[in-house]
């Protein structure tokens, strides 16, 4: 099998695999948010950037090539990731202590892994709404990082295209495909793949608040870098 290196460790790959896929298969953690092994690579969050030949590239979008020498965990690379995470935090309204997803949130966990403790840039405090129309699920748009995992899951697995992105630039935002734009009027169901895919606290099941106490949640038990992708529910 052809091979390349990640942080001096030899990684074998099947031609056609991305650096991220090869890394996951070899149990090497490259921090990421918009990537998920069940879906086509997206490349929007940029958290998985790694250094190759002095340039930053996103591990999820570059094909693995024989002889590559990839740098994954090193201070300068982690620093770029920290800054990207900081941008995601200031762009939305992330009030972790009161968020049901706290402890099971990939954004929070990846930030911890990369060493981001608190942002230094000014918060943007966007004015975003909450959609509580659905009986079983809540949408809190304040926390959306536009990873489009829900868009991909609903379109490619559920065959429904319940979610989409509208607007451009800083106006880009998640929308629900229904006559009035509300979740309740869409074909969304609690058994959808899209219902359990959100890495942050936007798409949340109702009636379960604090069922698992803080301290015992997913990433409280196993840190995100020590866990296999599909372990989570």
């Amino acid at each position: 099998m052809p091979a390349f290196k990640i942080d001096d460790q030899e990684v074998e790959f099947i031609p056609g695999q991305s650096v991220m896929q090869a890394a996951l298969a070899a149990d090497i953690y490259i921090p990421h948010l918009c990537f998920h092994e069940d879906f086509k690579a997206h490349g929007s969050c940029r958290i998985c950037l790694v250094m190759q030949n002095g340039r930053y590239l996103s591990a999820c979008t570059i094909p693995a090539v024989e002889g590559m020498d990839i740098i994954n965990i090193r201070d300068d690379v982690q620093e770029q990731r920290k800054q990207l995470l900081e941008l995601l935090f200031i762009e939305g309204n992330h009030v972790c202590p009161s968020c049901e997803k706290s402890g099971s949130c990939s954004l929070q966990s990846v930030a911890e892994f990369c060493g981001l403790l608190s942002p230094s840039l000014p918060f943007m405090y966007p004015n975003r709404s909450v959609d509580a129309s659905h009986a079983d699920f809540l949408l809190d748009f304040n926390r959306c990082i536009l990873c489009e995992l829900c868009v991909r899951a609903s379109r490619d697995v559920d065959g429904k295209s319940v979610f989409g992105i509208s607007g451009r630039g800083s106006n880009a935002h998640l929308v629900v495909n229904s006559a009035d734009g509300k979740l309740v009027s869409s074909s969304f169901e609690k058994t959808d793949r899209a219902a359990s895919i959100c890495p942050v606290g936007v798409i949340l099941p109702k009636h379960r608040g604090f069922k698992v106490p803080i301290g015992k949640r997913e990433f409280d038990v196993t840190a995100i870098n020590e866990r296999r992708e599909n372990d989570a529910g």
């Binding site: 940029r46 607007g167 880009a172």
Partner: protein, 591 residues
Amino acid sequence: MSTGSILQANDASAIVNTVKQVMHPLFDQTYLLQYLIKIQALYACIPPAAIQTLHEKLALTEAQIKSVISFYSFLSIDYQGKYRILFSDNITDRMAGNQSLFHQLSEAIKGADASIDFTSCTGLCDQGPAMLVNGHAINRLDTQRINDIAQLVNNNESLTNWPDNLFKIEDNIRRGDIQLNARAGDGSGIKNAMNLGYQKTLQILQNSGLRGRGGAGFTTAKKWQLCKQSEAVQRYVVCNADEGEPGTFKDRVLFNSSAHSVIEGMTICAYVIGAQKGFIYLRGEYLYLLEHLNDVLQRRREAGLLGQKILGKLNFKFDIEVHLGAGAYICGEESALIESLEGKRGMPRIRPPFPVTEGYKNQPTVVNNVETFWSVSRILLKGSNWFNKLGTKESTGTRLLSISGDCERPGIYEYPFGVTLQKIVEDCGGIETQAVQMAGAAGNTVLARDFDHQVSFEDLSTGGSFILIGGNRNLLDMLTNFADFFKHESCGFCTPCRVGTSLIADTLHRFEKGQGCSGDLQHLKKVLKLMQKSSFCGLGSSAPTAFLNVLENSPDVFDCGMSVESAEIYFDLNAATAEYKKITEPGEKGI
């Protein structure tokens, strides 16, 4: 002028019929954007009944259709009035006084059935300030013209009856060299290519050293070769006429003055790579060129230079269709352009695969700039030596520069690569030039002390724009203008560019108000460098260039925007407590 009056959007069944006519006979998803542009022109909005009809006939969800509408600046759900007036807002328009003219017109047409706003550079920088009325360009605005326009609007005069002289656009070709002085486009370039065969044609292009004129400078022969080598059901030729780089207008002039040559270049490409279908992606701002282009295409079909059996050759068929853009700079990026050609939001794709292997409809596609195709038409007539004897080692031949800003003779100049900035500034009559802005908002800001540098891919590269900044200008105004541009034009896909462009704009507006502080500059630098390194596409990675140039070479520019130099961050107490005041101040309604 072809624009009729705006239709009333209150009769749903009439809308359904009109929209069906617009879609007839193709009813094709990949034409969604083209349908929407037509519907917008008819109704000054996309009415709900239209969305419903598109949804039913094209098997797209309403949310998908709305998300396409929301991506393009020239499309809207809301009614824009009988007259949609958009002032071009490039830095050159600002330097020529567009802001006060905007306010003059806003006041003068209050209450009219019209809407008025700013838009990104419309490519009339050599004859600005400029505006678009229902997509049609008007140049050389001054108080007199604004008065005339206000009167026409207030009299409810149909655009068809507006005086022709308002819509006269000039070419302003100031300096020609070998390419502008040569004639091509009558089919002899295609004939030569066909006699030579595709391999020798590629060899001539290779020897000429021609590199793409759209910005990145990829070797044209190599691009065509890669496309030809790729497995394909179909191959496509796409002419990138999005010309969104602020300050660039050479493609507009080429289409106006030598469309035949550009189309001949595309046809030669089709012959070489074996394509049967081509597109010209024309930016919406150049709507007034559409009729002319379609006319030229039709004449070439009639002359046997397009369509079936080109120049009598049985198995060579190729035709070209013009697609319009609708106000999105990112659609100049080749993979976003292809998405837009497919009728979707203009979002850049993951690369690789590059368009030469997976482009339009995932088939191998050559995307070249207008000027690149235009040069091909000449090289196939005059030979590679004629071309490569001029220029530098890595940048052969000549190229067109769009020159604007503080100079006496703005317009189009053709120069061999390697020309110094000093020479250009002298030729166009630069007025106390303190700096030149190369390659639109995304390029280098070159200070006067560096004018011995050359225009070339090795030294200072440009997509064609060359804006002169006079001694009395404040570079901070220019940067603020660019910051607004990038914030408006970022597609919003990736984290660094979506959030970064917002942060840059916020910061520069603080400096504009004299509320900047030293901490801001440190944050700014950090964010700019992050964008350069980590953005998903060229927009985000090139946007920081001018800001970093000025921060590094002329940091005192920011001094005038500083309030408390010692402070790390600025805190605006009034802004922070505004909501609270609204609730508590007497006379205001509480929650």
